[in-house]
Symmetry: C2
Subunit: 203 residues, 2 copies
């Protein structure tokens, strides 16, 4: 049972997010969601008619947040390189908060891409896409020319994967007698290495 003053619908959504994230649509149990939300199972169906509807309600928000973070770059007046640094900082902040959501979304989208095509399409933003910003800077000869598509994937790989694979690395390192140290410190080191990669790419 969570805080009593919180609105039931919010509690349900939080609980559902937790359970769906852990087990996916298929493996999630309505009873577990109800338990975590501290309510009766029937009330779940009162607020969200069925499992898929509840899943959609939880998921739509998360997906939007994720893609906005992944694709969009803040529209400031800074030079491109500085904007990318801000982008990296945002990515790390976001991923440190939602590491499980990242892997969950990746898996769900991978499993049935067609279901998500519609939802991804709907996500619009008034901020420019990373890839367009890069292309623009290249056209203006502000930065060295390279494939912005490959660069974007490289960049997101360097940011996202350490979070996705974090637990594996930790286990592996400790198992094999390496020193893991403080997790946040390691994340900072990795963040720096990403910025180093940007600097390298920009000449």
């Amino acid at each position: 049972m969570k805080e009593k003053d919180e609105k039931t619908e919010v509690r349900i959504l939080e609980a559902a997010k937790e359970v769906f994230t852990k087990h996916g649509l298929y493996g999630a149990r309505m009873q577990e969601i109800a338990d975590i939300a501290g309510i009766n199972k029937a009330l779940l169906h009162y607020y969200f008619r069925n499992k898929e509807k509840l899943f959609d309600a939880v998921f739509e928000g998360a997906l939007k947040k994720y893609f906005e973070q992944m694709m969009v770059i803040g529209d400031t007046s800074l030079p491109v390189k500085e904007r990318l640094f801000v982008f990296v900082d945002n990515m790390f902040t976001f991923l440190e908060e939602y590491p499980m959501m990242a892997i969950f979304i990746l898996k769900e989208v991978t499993l049935n891409p067609d279901v998500f095509r519609q939802k991804i399409k709907q996500i619009k933003s008034n901020q420019p896409f990373l890839i367009d910003v890069l292309q623009d800077a290249m056209d203006k000869k502000e930065i060295k020319s390279f494939d912005p598509f490959v660069f974007m994937i490289n960049l997101q790989s360097l940011c996202a994967y350490p979070f996705i694979a974090g637990p594996i690395y930790k286990n592996m390192f400790i198992s094999h007698g390496y020193d893991w140290g403080n997790t946040h410190d390691n994340i900072e080191k990795i963040k720096d290495s990403v910025k180093e990669f940007i600097t390298f790419k920009f000449q």
Copy 2:
């Protein structure tokens, strides 16, 4: 029903791998595994006493394969840089074949790290670890000095993430009117960019 001449146990393991990969231990259905294997559900329990036992049987092999690929570097007589190129080639070949397994393992390990600590520990290899090879080359001044731990994560990020997030990118690009082109060609481009990263890091 799959090929009749294949041994039942193998067919079960293949079917189980497929279903567990899609839905995880929690969401997988024994009936679906039986159907895909083309057998009775009771026969499943005849070969593997219960769901967890079957899961373990499937998973143990996959986990081993995955970690050996991820951690280990071929012990050839080539210089370190060339050995890393071979490592990258192997990673891409492996991931192109098992893209779903990668994300599956990542999620399962992330969900309950403690369960996998034991299994990961058991995986031994007679080939040296990437991280040790790098440290050795640095000690011998063969390559520029940097943090081998961060480098290993960077390298694996650049290799693995494009496969994990592949379907997302494809959807996103097409949705926003970019040209995706041929998937394998894109993979080759990304592979080249990883090698470029190695070259940059090695001076």
